[in-house]
């Protein structure tokens, strides 16, 4: 990492550090909930990729939109979401962001511009591009960032929407988090040629950045967001990163597709939080003790939010047919529309 350019940015640096630690703490708690059989279903951990979500989202405002993925907790936290409402959603409770209807793979946080996680790989590529079309047509300044994984680049949809985004100069940034794997398969086995060349083929300016370096990610995103606002979009960024856990929380025995040495190496040498913490100390922005205090405070916040969510009520059964249609309170009462 380069030297701190501007001491006035201390607040920004701290915010980035805190947000990365918040994501890690959220995921550690979610994993515990799964391991102790207190979470319904499965979930995909974002740990290891924190610098991507935080570096990008810290370059955005609440007006700016993101679309997220099945591995979406990190994007959601980074965009400003609250722990309690997130844990409530993971546990299917009424106070969750989606009133328990969505769960881990569908968390959306309208108040901070998160249009939602998505359980269909690549499923949000159209949505992000459509949001960018809205911004342009409505003359609004917001930029949309479309997060997706390396595996999602195999979806044909991406090529269709990139073509249109380029033709229509839409303010959208396609952010591919290349964590080296899609499920149990290495990226080299599913991607021919180069990813950035694919975007470039549409005349889209494309960048590769170290996804473990929060400052590098943030700096690049700030530039691209600024250029999107003046009509220079779309852009593509490929971020080199790594997921620490299995594909999902239940993917414990991973030896057949990736080595423990490889996992240990990333954690030891390229951990985005450790490295940024060291940099903050080197630059004399923070002391080691101050960082530990932040970590502890956030861990206890997460624990309190988990407890809150465990104690929170489930939605009432009569919510089951609410929100099927906008403008219809209960779908089962809609004429001829549904049945019980």
């Amino acid at each position: 990492m380069s030297a701190a350019k501007n001491r006035h940015n201390t607040e920004d640096y701290l915010q980035m550090y805190r947000q990365m630690v918040r994501i890690r703490a959220f995921e550690d708690s979610a994993n515990q909930l799964y391991l102790s059989a207190r979470m319904p279903g499965l979930t995909h951990m974002y740990s290891g990729q924190e610098a991507v979500a935080v570096g990008i989202c810290e370059a955005l405002t609440d007006e700016d939109r993101i679309t997220s993925t099945h591995r979406g907790h990190g994007h959601c936290v980074a965009k400003g979401a609250d722990f309690k409402a997130m844990f409530c959603e993971l546990l299917g409770k009424a106070e969750g962001y989606c009133r328990g209807k969505g769960g881990s793979m569908h968390i959306a946080d309208q108040s901070h511009g998160n249009l939602g996680a998505n359980a269909i790989v690549g499923g949000s590529m159209g949505i992000a591009t459509g949001a960018a079309l809205s911004a342009k047509r409505l003359g609004r300044e917001f930029v949309t960032v479309c997060f997706f994984g390396d595996g999602a680049t195999a979806q044909g949809l991406w090529y269709e929407v990139m073509n249109m985004a380029a033709l229509w100069q839409l303010p959208v940034i396609y952010a591919c988090e290349n964590n080296g794997y899609s499920e149990y398969t290495r990226t080299e086995e599913i991607a021919a040629g180069s990813l950035i060349a694919r975007a470039q083929a549409f005349g889209i300016e494309a960048f590769q950045v170290d996804g473990q370096d929060v400052l590098a990610v943030n700096e690049l995103t700030q530039q691209l967001v600024g250029r999107c606002r003046t009509g220079e979009g779309p852009f593509f960024i490929e971020l080199d990163t790594y997921r620490y856990h299995g594909h999902h929380v239940g993917d414990i025995n991973r030896d057949y597709y990736r080595s423990r040495d490889e996992e240990a190496e990333w954690k030891k040498v390229r951990d985005p939080i450790t490295n940024f913490g060291k940099w903050l100390i080197d630059q004399k922005i923070m002391s080691a003790d101050e960082l530990v205090a932040i970590d502890e405070e956030i861990t206890s916040d997460a624990q309190a939010a988990v407890q809150y969510a465990l104690d929170a009520p489930y939605p009432d059964g009569n919510e089951v047919d609410m929100h099927v249609f906008s403008g219809v309170d209960h779908a089962l009462e809609y004429p001829g529309g549904a049945h019980r």
Binding site: G92, Y184, V320, R340
Partner: protein
């Protein structure tokens, strides 16, 4: 000799046997080779058949579905593994506009002998995009056969028949049943399409149930027996073709019917079967035919809501008791 094996093992055996028998059978899908799919259904196949025949694809469902159609038209017999039934929406054009219509549009000159293996079933807390039961969607399309195994025994026998069929066949496995065991013969067997299985004989009410709902119907029948109501349980095994005769014979005997399927109720499989009973056995009926499908809402994540959306044994038994008492369940 019969032993008990899981549904997952039954599927694995069916594919292995057919691949040994016929070199033109190949299998394609995501994480099917070394990983053996996320449900571990295909574990071990790549060791025997190699990566030339057990082919890992990128996450490109329309692409590999289309490749399967073309390969099927030119000499191979592809088995496509679609990880979740919910991803059917991604492959609909290749399946319904291409595979389903090839034979007809070519005046019988081309065929597309392929199998699309996928799954269905809610209550796994997987939310709205990983829990759907979309059999009605494909059963609606002329040219596609649709099989719905209700146990390991059916899963193996129907899949082997599907692989030998010269038409595109979609087979839905209940993802909650992969670890359920059932007696399966060691010897080779096939289950013909279009022949329903009478799982339990009865006099008072016919329960026609598919896949995951067969167990539900059997449980309901058991409860009803305690109340002196004798329920007949029929598993159609394939919904295209549909063994109408067995269903109608049963209803003519019992004069009451409840049709149960895990797809959404409206415009669904239950609606189709109920309509046929209404059309063809009307004068034998003592009560309106009752449909029981999944509630017409996207599948909610919260356990508190999700369990309300699928038919259960208590609900089936209650409806059966009421129609046997002569009550109207859906009063106008």
């Amino acid at each position: 000799m019969t032993r008990e094996i899981t549904l997952s093992k039954a599927v694995n055996e069916a594919i292995a046997e057919e691949m040994r028998r016929d070199a033109s059978v190949i299998l394609l899908g995501e994480d099917v080779a070394e990983a053996g799919t996320p449900f571990k259904v295909l574990s071990g196949l790549v060791e025997e058949f190699g990566t030339d025949r057990i082919i890992d694809t990128p996450i490109s469902e329309p692409g590999f579905m289309g490749i399967a159609v073309g390969a099927a038209m030119t000499g191979l017999r592809p088995v496509v593994d679609l990880m979740f039934g919910d991803f059917l929406y991604l492959v609909m054009d290749q399946l319904c506009n291409q595979a389903a219509k090839t034979h007809y549009m070519s005046g019988g000159k081309l065929t597309a002998p392929l199998v699309l293996r996928t799954n269905m079933g809610a209550t796994r807390r997987s939310a709205a995009q990983h829990s759907q039961s979309l059999q009605a969607l494909v059963a609606h399309i002329p040219g596609l056969k649709v099989a719905m195994p209700s146990s390991a025994y059916e899963a193996k026998g129907l899949l082997k028949t599907a692989i030998r069929d010269d038409n595109p066949v979609v087979i839905f496995e209940d993802k909650l049943m992969y670890q359920d065991k059932a007696p399966v013969p060691e010897e080779e067997y096939l289950i013909p399409f279009g022949k329903a299985h009478i799982k339990r004989e009865g006099r008072d009410v016919t329960l026609v149930a598919t896949s995951s709902m067969v167990q539900v119907a059997e449980e309901a029948a058991e409860a009803l027996a305690g109340d002196g109501i004798s329920a007949e349980v029929i598993d159609p095994r394939t919904i295209v073709p549909l063994d109408e005769q067995t269903i109608l014979n049963s209803v003519r005997k019992t004069s009451r019917a409840i049709v149960i399927d895990e797809g959404h109720q409206s415009y669904g499989v239950t609606a189709e079967i109920a309509a046929r009973i209404g059309e063809k056995a009307f004068y034998h009926l003592d009560a309106p035919v009752i449909r029981m499908g999944a509630m017409d809402v996207p599948v909610p994540f919260s356990p508190a809501l999700e369990d309300l959306t699928v038919p259960n044994a208590a609900g089936v038994a209650e409806n059966a008791r009421r129609i046997c008492r002569g009550e109207l369940i859906h009063a106008a």
